[in-house]
C-alpha cells in the first residue's frame, strides 16, 4: 500500500521538513478536533494553501496529505452524523452501525499509522507514495 522510492531530485533539509510537517499537521488536527471530522481537513487545506508555491517535493507531499484525507472525511462524516442521529435523533444502535464504526476505525487507524510513517520518512528526505493517493497526486501535482 505504501511505496518508498527516490524522488526526481534530492530534496534539501528545509524541503524535507516542510513536506513532513504537512503530514504532522493532519495528525495534530486529528487529535485537536477528534469529534469533528472536518477539522483535520481544514488544517491540511490551510497548510496546502500556504505551501502551494513551494518546491515540487513540498507541493507533492502537501497534495498527497490533502487528498488522502478526502475519502476519510466522507467515511468519518457519515459515521459522525449517524452517531448524532442516534444520540439526539430517532435512530437506534444497530449491528450495521457498530459494523460501520469499527470499519471506519480500522481505516482511521490505518491512515494514522501510514501518516506517522510517511512523516518520518519524508523528514529523512525519502519519497513515500501511497496506494491510489500517490497516483492521484501525480495527476494533480505537476512539476
Amino acid at each position: 500500500m505504501i511505496t518508498l522510492s527516490r524522488f526526481l531530485y534530492e530534496p534539501g533539509e528545509h524541503e524535507a521538513e516542510k513536506a513532513s510537517n504537512s503530514y504532522l499537521m493532519s495528525l495534530v488536527a486529528v487529535v485537536a478536533g477528534l469529534p469533528l471530522p472536518i477539522v483535520n481537513l481544514f488544517a491540511t487545506i490551510i497548510f496546502y494553501l500556504g505551501n502551494r508555491k513551494g518546491t515540487y517535493f513540498v507541493r507533492w507531499h502537501c497534495t498527497q496529505a490533502l487528498v488522502s484525507q478526502i475519502s476519510l472525511l466522507m467515511v468519518n462524516s457519515y459515521g459522525f452524523w449517524w452517531t448524532i442521529s442516534i444520540l439526539f435523533g430517532s435512530e437506534t444502535i444497530s449491528n450495521n452501525y457498530i459494523a460501520y464504526i469499527l470499519v471506519a476505525l480500522v481505516f482511521n487507524l490505518g491512515e494514522f499509522i501510514a501518516t506517522i510513517y510517511t512523516a518520518i520518512q519524508t523528514r529523512k528526505g525519502l519519497h513515500v507514495e501511497w496506494w491510489f493517493y500517490g497516483s492521484l497526486t501525480d495527476l494533480l501535482c505537476k512539476e
Binding site: 439526539f88 430517532s90 492521484l136
Partner: protein, 266 residues
C-alpha cells in the same frame, strides 16, 4: 488515469468487503447492547413511575385492579406476550387517559374506565398501549424528544428531576407520530382479534370521543394526545372487516358493571 481509477476502485471494494465482513458478526450480542438497553429502559421506567406515584393516587383495590388485569392477561396470553413484562397501574383521576412508560409500565386512569361504554372499548385502549410497548415506540419517542444522551445520564443517576417530569409530560400528554399511532392501532386490532375481543367498539370509542363537546375535552387527554381520531376509527373499521372475530367477553356483564361502579365510588 487508468491506474488511479483501478486503485480507487480497489480501495472502495476493500472498504465494502471489510464492511460486509464486519456486518457478519453479531456485535449487538457481543457487546451486550440489548442487555445494556434493557437496563437503561428499566431504570428510566422506574424513575418515571416513582415520579407519577409521588403526584397521583394509585388504586390498589383488588376488585378494580384484578378486573383490568384480567383483560390485559387475555390479550397477552392469546398473543404470546410475556404478561410478567407488563406492569399495570390504575390511577384515580377523572382524566380519560392511558399511557405506557418504558419497561412495560401501563398507566390507566379511572376516568377512562368510567368513560368506556363496554369492556371491549377499554380492552381496545389497553391493546393500543400494549402495542406501543411491543413495538418499542415508548423509548423511540423519549429518545426523539429528550435525546439518548440525556436518557442515559438519567438512568445513570445524574438526571435531574426536571428531566423526569418532562418525560412524564411527554409520555402522558403528547402525541406519537402519526405513523406510530397507526401502527399501534393496527397491531391493537390484531391483538384484540386473537384475544377474541371485537375491535369495533374500540373504533366507536375513538369516534364518540371525537364528537364530544369542546368544554368536556379538558378531561379527554387520551383523545387530545391521539389526534385524527375520526380518521383512525375508520381505518380500524376497514382493517377489522377482514378479520372474523368471535367476541368472547373477558368479564361477565355483572363484573364489568361492578368494576365501573367501584371506580365511581372510589
Amino acid at each position: 488515469m487508468n491506474k488511479v481509477a483501478y486503485q480507487g476502485l480497489a480501495l472502495v471494494l476493500l472498504f465494502a468487503l471489510l464492511l460486509f465482513a464486519s456486518n457478519q458478526v453479531d456485535w449487538m450480542k457481543l457487546f451486550k447492547v440489548a442487555k445494556a438497553t434493557e437496563k437503561t429502559e428499566e431504570k428510566i421506567g422506574e424513575l418515571i413511575w416513582e415520579n407519577i406515584q409521588f403526584s397521583e393516587v394509585e388504586i390498589k383495590l383488588d376488585s378494580i385492579t384484578n378486573a383490568v388485569d384480567s383483560i390485559v392477561t387475555r390479550i397477552c396470553r392469546n398473543n404470546k406476550i410475556d404478561r410478567s413484562e407488563l406492569k399495570l397501574h390504575v390511577l384515580h383521576s377523572p382524566e380519560i387517559n392511558a399511557f405506557a412508560l418504558p419497561d412495560g409500565h401501563i398507566i390507566v386512569y379511572s376516568g377512562l374506565i368510567e368513560a368506556s361504554e363496554n369492556q371491549e372499548q377499554l380492552a381496545g385502549v389497553l391493546a393500543h398501549e400494549i402495542a406501543h410497548i411491543q413495538l418499542n415506540h415508548i423509548m423511540k419517542k423519549l429518545v426523539k424528544e429528550v435525546g439518548l444522551s440525556v436518557l442515559v445520564s438519567m438512568a445513570a443517576g445524574s438526571g435531574g428531576g426536571e428531566i423526569i417530569t418532562q418525560s412524564v409530560q411527554i409520555l402522558s400528554s403528547t402525541a406519537f407520530d402519526r405513523n406510530l399511532e397507526e401502527e399501534a392501532d393496527l397491531k391493537a386490532v390484531d391483538y384484540l382479534a386473537k384475544a377474541n375481543i371485537d375491535p369495533e367498539p374500540f373504533a366507536n370509542f375513538l369516534y364518540n370521543l371525537s364528537l364530544e363537546e369542546p368544554e368536556m375535552m379538558k378531561y379527554f387527554s387520551w383523545i387530545s394526545t391521539h389526534p385524527d381520531s375520526e380518521e383512525r376509527a375508520e381505518t380500524i373499521v376497514t382493517y377489522s372487516q377482514n378479520l372474523k372475530v368471535k367476541n368472547r367477553p373477558v368479564l361477565s356483564d355483572e363484573a364489568w358493571l361492578a368494576l365501573q361502579e367501584k371506580v365511581k365510588e372510589y
